[in-house]
Symmetry: C5
């Protein structure tokens, strides 16, 4: 469906008027929002607004990256809104003319509703024209990125604090999932940041100081977001390396235990095996103290091995 | 063979006319496509068109990287078409003059056929000159990159979702293959992107606003493609690290099992071995409850060891 | 609470005067410091100073990154002070006008007190205006970063010198903690460095040569700090890799010991087991020298195995 | 020895004339090649040509990096020729004046001979002056880099195709050798590329369009070479990681086999050991079916363990 | 102590004259070297030369990074001299005025002595002024970096050539030490390189062509040094990875030996254990050929296992 909003030259804010009034009313600016448009509504881009075919093609195709294209009578933007649940980017296309904003999105975006309400609460703030309306829309979209990244940062910090040998394999899988989420977020946030930079420095758009302060505020947010993505990815890499190192440490300890026990008892078992042989002529077997001598010998070997392992510092592993 | 296409000053589109008509007809622009040229046809570059020897050399040699060279009376481009099957880059050489496009490729390229058909369907779109013809050719070539990268992205996402200890070694080899494919794709896509950037900003070529919108559309696609290559390579690195970490985890579990079983039964076996010795004088053997005492002792050791391993948290590995 | 400091046109330095005197007194410059302001005091930003709402919003929100925004009648800075104990960044907001500095911080910052005292000791040094006052504040804030990084560098060097197989697992956890601290520090120091660079080259601020020398001194410090952060992170990576390599070496040695002992005694134990079988018809058992022959055979195997392991160079591990 | 070549104002090409004729003959340009010069010949740089001492010092010292220095009456270049056998860089120093080229190299370079022959075959192509002579020399030098890199790329691709657990340790050493060769090549190719870029954009050298096309062709080659070095090094890194991952997989399989066999037979051996004890009072030993009961028990344990390992999916390793 | 050197307008070179003569003599330039200055001598910076307090502060503080600050009547440089023994950077501060050079260093630097001697040998080379004196000093300082890096490169190449399983753990520790030395060197060489770049391009310093050639020569050296540091660090990373891979290979071989021997003899030992049981009713024991049948069975198992391991390709490890 289509939502309309307009600010007349007489300083009135009209909402949800029929599209045709655009030609009859005297608007300082108007905003038409294509919200999950039907096939017929999509045709209006070409038939009613007469936008350039390449821009219309970019609207209808999915998965454009954030960008800015200048056409003769309007500028065309692609922004990305990030869905909180699955971190998928939703495309938001925006046409900005001298006195209009047209937005187009195949999914319903709550941010559009929020922007509309903000404008209706302070219409006088937006009297200067459509660029501030565009600002309000983009600001709303970018503000939605923060809770997503805050949540990731909190979880990573939590994991990092609690890393220990016994929990290491639990967090592993989660960390790799977060890494791929961050990769996906980066594919939205980096181009959005570069796009805002272009907007701020665009001669064609010609923002005045007032507008630059507002769009600069969004750019600022995107700078911070891109740094958050980068340092979160580095943190996941550190956690992963930390896990590998905990694993490798634990492996050493496991193998030490196996080696100590095997090294002590395998030779002793061999000795017992020797005197378990059934040869008819084995003199030691008949000695009166043969058994006790052999047991003493085994004890000596046992103690000697223990001392050797203690000398190597391995016995510590039985303590902690 | 050679394909010709020309747009006369009278607004007519001629196809497959003999090469000589170029001098007799009055063309706004013409396009000559050297499609798998024979040795005689190759000579035409020098003899008929009189192109600069360095440009002709670049045509005849294989494995040029995408580039743009300015010569006095034409610009010379090397583009890469990527073959869907083996991801090998095929060279497409393009000479752009004020009123002509000459393309040269040693392999048959389906994209040339497609571009020709597109032009024949809307000849009036191309009346302004050869630059839009060149656009149509390059656009066709670059559009072919997308399905290749989409396929890789889909497969990587699938692998990433399904990573588990039991499948880890199956995907390993595939991941390394994808990495080297991405390396190969990058060697085409990065220079193509830089080339389109040069084309967009070239004063020598002097694109008008209309043409800039069109070539900007291709540049845009190449930007996205290069980001897709980069993040896919990062994703393969993540998958590989994930696999190493799964492997290392599993190794720990394997060694824990071995260590638990060996640590319990090797000492017990030793004790059994001791009482299997055949010394004539072994007092315990004659005790009435000797056997039961030793069995009780063994049970104590068994239970003690189990408790110690449970205390260390190792027994969990027998559960899942 | 609020701290005030002012330099009158008559060359007098006034401290802790009531806010209203700003309008009555003739100040060359004055500095108002909002130190842990109450809710009422926060309102003064808007009601008394009439700062732009976006700047006030940035004051009241936490977790802004260091930045510089130009407004019509003042410049707005966000700086970060780093807390020595937990390496958390505290935000310090600064409004710089032609004749005033206003600072705002929700935590008490010792550096503000220090800056105030420095100014009161040499008031004549600051007669030229508020930019040098701002310099004094920022210099104080950045100077506090050094002891934190020096401490980290010292500890890393100490660890690096003392790395050995027996201490390797102790330092591991510490190294990963330092890495995440450095990540946090970097998020302050990089943007601070970029901010000082902008300040130095800002035409809007228009620093004179004298002021440029002073602010250049801070930029210089931040350059060094960012290099210290970078090389410390590289050093932690080296230590971590060094630890992994020590671990992997030690694992090899552990497994060699286990393999040598098992490879020697397991076959010997098998032979003893064979002659411990109770078959009624085992000719060797009745041989007069059967026992001695078997013992000799075992000795041969024992020596042979030892020679083979010595040939492989494995016996060295028993030495060190 | 010295090789001379000169193009007279009358359009004649003279070769191997004595050095003194430079002053008597009327040359459009001349080229003097110091080929493995003797100590006396080296002095000619200073005494005969009167080159600046810093430039002469750079000639006589080895191991200069590729570079370009402007002096008052000539430009001084250092190029690197790569020896096909050991990939060592040989220095080639080149002085370019308005009407002369002087080259200096302590090793004999086959490329100098080739360049001389090329010039003698088409002298008219070089009539414009010494810059094209310099082009011919550098082109010859850079063309020699390609076969070296093609060979490395071919071998890496071969290794990558054939990686398998049984060959993994054979290729390991080779891969590390290739990595250090690539490091060495990069130290030549990167600075050569940057040098050619400087040459192309040098106002001092003032190349005309014709010369720019020629030097641009070399720059183009060096761009491709530097990309080949980079992607080859990435490929070696991938191969190395692939090998580590194959190793780690194989280790898991080895340990699984050991663990399965030990876990099954060590407990069984313990049971056999128990009934091999020689206590006089062991009731089970006298039971009529004691032996069969114990054997059945062992069979149960054996089958139980096998089922448990199959449940864990470990038995697959015995298949492939 | 202080060393003085001066070139009078009459073309005379004076050495070790008292500081006061600076005001009485007519010097084209003079150089005062503060060599391990006493506390009183340090005061001269402020009292005699009246340098800016920030510059004097930078002199007296240690651990400044290489830099260049412009003050009204002089330029202030911090250079680093690297001590050959411990690779610690020593600070060298240099004030450059229109007719003077003042150097300041808390340690004795042999390079200062060398520079002084060079100047005294060719005083006429330095008649143009203090910039060439500064050149001579910095050139001397940077020349000292080379032997340090050459030594590191030689040792790394040696290690790389000789890597083998038996020496792998010896070189490990050395490689990590070299890595941290290179990190330290880089902290000197990178900022020195950037500083020389600034010097070369500084409008304030205004080097003439002659001086640019000389300072360009130093910049050139620093470029090469920074590349040497970078590729040496990459080489150490390669050596480290190579060692990890050798270790991992060797681990596989160790475990294969253990697994082969255990897998063969543990089951055989079990069988022997079974027939060592003392049940009164064990029919096989009474069979005439029971012993020989069991021995044959064991032989079958032994050979079967060997064949299976040969089939898996594991027996190769016993060869080399
Ligand atoms: Mg498009
Ligand atoms: Mg769209
Ligand atoms: Mg916002
Ligand atoms: Mg907002
Ligand atoms: Mg921790
Ligand atoms: Mg996910
Ligand atoms: Mg804000
Ligand atoms: Mg490992
Ligand atoms: Mg070609
Ligand atoms: Mg396209
Ligand atoms: Mg298309
Ligand atoms: Mg997962
Ligand atoms: Mg492939
Ligand atoms: Mg704030
Ligand atoms: Mg400071
Ligand atoms: Mg200070
Ligand atoms: Mg060490
Ligand atoms: Mg911490
Ligand atoms: Mg300072
Ligand atoms: Mg030389
Ligand atoms: Mg060439
Ligand atoms: Mg060539
Ligand atoms: Mg493969
Ligand atoms: Mg080699
Ligand atoms: Mg070419
Ligand atoms: Mg100092
Ligand atoms: Mg030098
Ligand atoms: Mg020198
Ligand atoms: Mg080698
Ligand atoms: Mg050291
Ligand atoms: Mg030199």
């Amino acid at each position: 469906m289509l939502h309309t909003l307009g600010y007349t030259t007489t300083g009135e804010l009209l909402a949800d008027f029929p599209l045709e009034e655009i030609h009859t009313q005297d608007f300082k600016w108007f905003w038409v929002d294509f919200d999950q448009p039907t096939e017929e509504e999509k045709l209006l881009l070409t038939l009613f607004f007469r936008f350039h075919p390449l821009a219309v093609e970019d609207c209808l195709n999915r998965l454009q990256r954030p960008k800015l294209d200048y056409y003769d009578d309007f500028s065309f933007f692609v922004f990305h809104s990030i869905c909180n649940d699955d971190m998928e980017a939703e495309e938001l296309d925006l046409f900005l003319g001298t006195n209009f904003v047209v937005t187009f999105h195949l999914q319903h975006l709550r941010e559009m509703q929020d922007a509309r309400e903000r404008i209706m609460r302070n219409p006088e703030k937006f009297e200067y024209g459509p660029k501030l309306v565009a600002y309000q829309i983009v600001d709303q979209v970018v503000d939605e990125y923060f809770p997503i990244l805050y949540k990731i940062e909190d979880q990573l910090n939590e994991i990092e604090e609690s890393l220990s040998p016994s929990t290491v394999h639990l967090s592993m899988d989660y960390v790799f999932d977060v890494r791929s989420d961050l990769l996906r977020l980066r594919r939205t946030i980096y181009p959005m940041r570069d796009l805002l930079y272009r907007i701020l420095n665009s001669e064609r758009l010609g923002l005045n100081t007032h507008e630059q302060i507002y769009f600069g505020d969004i750019y600022d947010h995107l700078l911070r977001l891109s740094e958050m993505v980068d340092s979160s990815r580095e943190l996941t890499a550190d956690i992963r390396d930390s896990q590998l190192s905990i694993n490798s440490n634990q492996m050493n300890r496991i193998m030490m235990i196996l080696t100590i026990i095997s090294s002590i008892f395998i030779p002793l078992t061999f000795i017992a095996g020797v005197y378990g042989m059934n040869f008819s002529n084995m003199p030691e077997l008949q000695w009166k103290y043969g058994y006790f001598i052999v047991m003493g010998l085994m004890l000596l070997i046992f103690v000697g091995m223990l001392l050797w392992f203690r000398h190597k510092g391995w016995l510590r592993i039985f303590k902690s």
